[in-house]
């Protein structure tokens, strides 16, 4: 059977750059055609910036890999023009079950908040995710957008200069040199670019191995997330069962530290484990098996002059809580509008330092959350295990213990509290929309709020007057005028006004709040625009 991840999607082709007598200069080179690299490239190309993606491979991800995509990344993908196929294909679920030893201790319903266009998250194999992004790249190319992917183009060396970056690229037909004004390194946790530049990557190693398997099952298991602590079929360890599209199930089995990885990966050793888990009578086919270990760590700085790291190359987390791809897309969403303004000369280069501040904050939050989940799932001391088991025992009987059970916390976007781009909060409004927050969605009768905000600076007015357009030092801000009456569910009022009768929000291109006040004040908002673009 020919699987999608076995077909080259961007096969190697010789390019004129390889025969150039002096190296060609590009605007931006993105290294890595995974979800984050493709996200960066699509974002830049949509803004009219010429971008070249280099990848050492020519296919989408092998195996399911990153499988959970949260609401925020889906909203970002909508702006990148590829959210819909992901949501159409992805599996949504709300029910989770927690097992301890031989018994189910409780189940839960996520009960996602209403009034959002996108679900709390979907399960989707990474290969589909990447395929839809490549489709979007092809669509942009047909429309004449300046975006290109070169497969089997492996970066071998990086030279950094004050005003450009030079890279040596190896191909099946030999190597060539190419330059760019900017380079975005999205080359994964093992980032060769990071190693070539000799940059740090410090953090905590978790001494554990996990077997992950994609299994095609005929059984009629419900669309639920099942998590086992210390199950009879994997004594002393944990296990996870998750549904993906096409009747493919993702299974994660904790194996412990002292194991023979090659031996554990062999089907004759994997299949008995899965049978013990799923039941002897369940028919299944093994599609993909891998063993992973992980660390929680990050680079001290994500920006190094004209080389900027995004996604796993900049920060690595444990897989519990789905914070890898989800946070990487928030990185590029944060970066690309800033880079565009800097490249257009509409903002100082120092605006890019706010990418460091904001996304380091995000990475630290993700590392903290995923380390805690890991400590709960794989206790590292006797007392840690005693307490963990006590929580699980109590959770079967008492509701109070259930919030303490941690088998991975839902990936939520971070609020950039304390960011230099925020203006002081001048509205006594809801905390969830304070400056630095990602805008929560709201139903608006004929659609939703977030698509109306789009990907540019917006002045959102709710029952307040303001000019239709403000231009401040090259930055154009257009008004989106709404009234609480536009949303009969009152979500707009609850999420953006609270007890106030009116409100005016300055919203950044990445849909984070930069400033808010009860009414429009020209001087204050002009200052807020300057601050949000690194000019104050």
């Amino acid at each position: 059977m020919n699987k999608i991840f076995e077909v080259p999607l961007y096969p190697y082709e010789r390019h004129a750059d390889q025969d150039a007598s002096t190296p060609a200069r590009h605007k931006v080179i993105v290294v890595g055609a995974g979800p984050i690299g493709l996200g960066a490239a699509i974002d830049l190309a949509q803004q009219g910036i010429e971008v070249l993606v280099l990848d050492d491979n020519d296919k989408v991800s092998f195996g399911s890999r990153a499988v959970c995509y949260a609401k925020r990344p889906l909203e970002i993908l909508d702006r990148l023009g590829c959210g819909q196929p992901m949501v159409d294909k992805g599996v949504e679920w709300n029910i989770g079950k927690v097992f301890f030893d031989e018994r189910q201790v409780y189940d839960f319903n996520l009960l996602p908040e209403e009034g959002h266009q996108r679900p709390a998250f979907i399960n989707l194999q990474q290969y589909y995710f990447e395929e839809y992004m490549v489709n979007r790249v092809r669509e942009l190319q047909e429309q004449g957008a300046p975006i290109e992917i070169r497969g089997r183009n492996k970066v071998e060396a990086v030279g950094t200069h004050d005003d450009h970056v030079k890279v040596e690229v190896d191909t099946p037909e030999g190597s060539y040199t190419v330059e760019a004004d900017w380079l975005i390194a999205c080359d994964g946790a093992g980032s060769p670019i990071r190693s070539m530049m000799g940059k740090d990557f410090i953090g905590r190693v978790f001494e554990d191995n996990f077997l992950i398997a994609d299994v095609i099952m005929e059984a009629d298991f419900p669309t639920e997330r099942w998590f086992w602590f210390d199950p009879p079929f994997n004594k002393g360890q944990s296990a996870l069962l998750h549904k993906q599209p096409d009747g493919v199930w993702r299974i994660d089995l904790q194996l412990g530290w002292d194991i023979d990885k090659e031996r554990e990966k062999r089907p004759e050793n994997v299949i008995p484990r899965l049978k013990a888990m799923l039941g002897e009578d369940v028919k299944f086919e093994l599609e993909w098996v891998s063993i992973y270990t992980f660390q929680c760590r990050r680079m001290e700085q994500f920006r190094h002059g004209r080389v900027i790291f995004a996604g796993d190359s900049a920060h690595q987390v444990s897989p519990f809580g789905a914070r890898g791809a989800n946070s990487g897309l928030q990185d590029t969403d944060n970066l690309c509008w800033k880079l565009k303004l800097v490249m257009d000369g509409k903002a100082p280069e120092s605006l890019l330092d706010s990418y460091d501040v904001e996304r380091v904050h995000g990475a630290d939050e993700n590392i903290l959350n995923s380390s805690r989940s890991t400590d709960f799932i794989t206790p590292k001391s006797d007392m840690s295990r005693v307490l963990r088991d006590a929580v699980l025992d109590l959770s079967e009987h008492y509701e109070f213990a259930r919030p303490l059970v941690n088998s991975g916390r839902l990936s939520m976007p971070c609020t950039y509290d304390g960011s230099p781009l925020n203006s002081a909060d001048a509205l006594d409004g809801p905390a969830r929309t304070r400056p630095g927050s990602p805008c929560p969605d709201v139903p608006l009768g004929d659609g939703y709020l977030l698509p109306k905000l789009g990907g540019k600076f917006t002045l959102l007015t709710i029952d307040a007057d303001a000019p239709d357009v403000i231009e401040e030092d090259g930055i154009e801000v257009t008004r989106l005028a709404l009234s609480v009456k536009d949303d009969p569910t009152l979500a707009l009022k609850q999420r953006y006004l609270g007890d106030n009768d009116s409100g005016v929000y300055l919203i950044r291109p990445d849909q984070h709040v930069a400033a808010r006040r009860p009414s429009f004040d020209e001087n204050q908002f002009r200052a807020a625009i300057r601050r949000a673009t690194g000019k104050e």
Binding site: R372, M383, L387, H397, Y398, E399, F400, L404
Partner: protein, 65 residues
């Protein structure tokens, strides 16, 4: 007469749990056990209500009513 609270009552449960683990970090098992015992007594004194304490003892024993 007060009733024992058995619904979620701790804001930021993950922060609390991490702090609970952190006080045990690096301790020998016997020292950890002793710490837990002291913690039970400190919390019991804070609660004070004898009826609630009796309910708590029964709840922790996982005895069915």
């Amino acid at each position: 007469m007060a009733d024992l609270t058995l619904t979620p009552n701790i804001p930021g449960p993950d922060d609390f749990y991490a702090e609970l683990l952190s006080v045990h970090e690096g301790l020998e098992k016997s020292d950890s056990d002793a710490l837990n015992a002291r913690l039970v007594l400190v919390l019991a004194n804070h609660i004070g209500d004898r009826e609630v304490l009796s309910q708590a003892l029964a709840a922790a024993a996982l005895k069915k009513d």
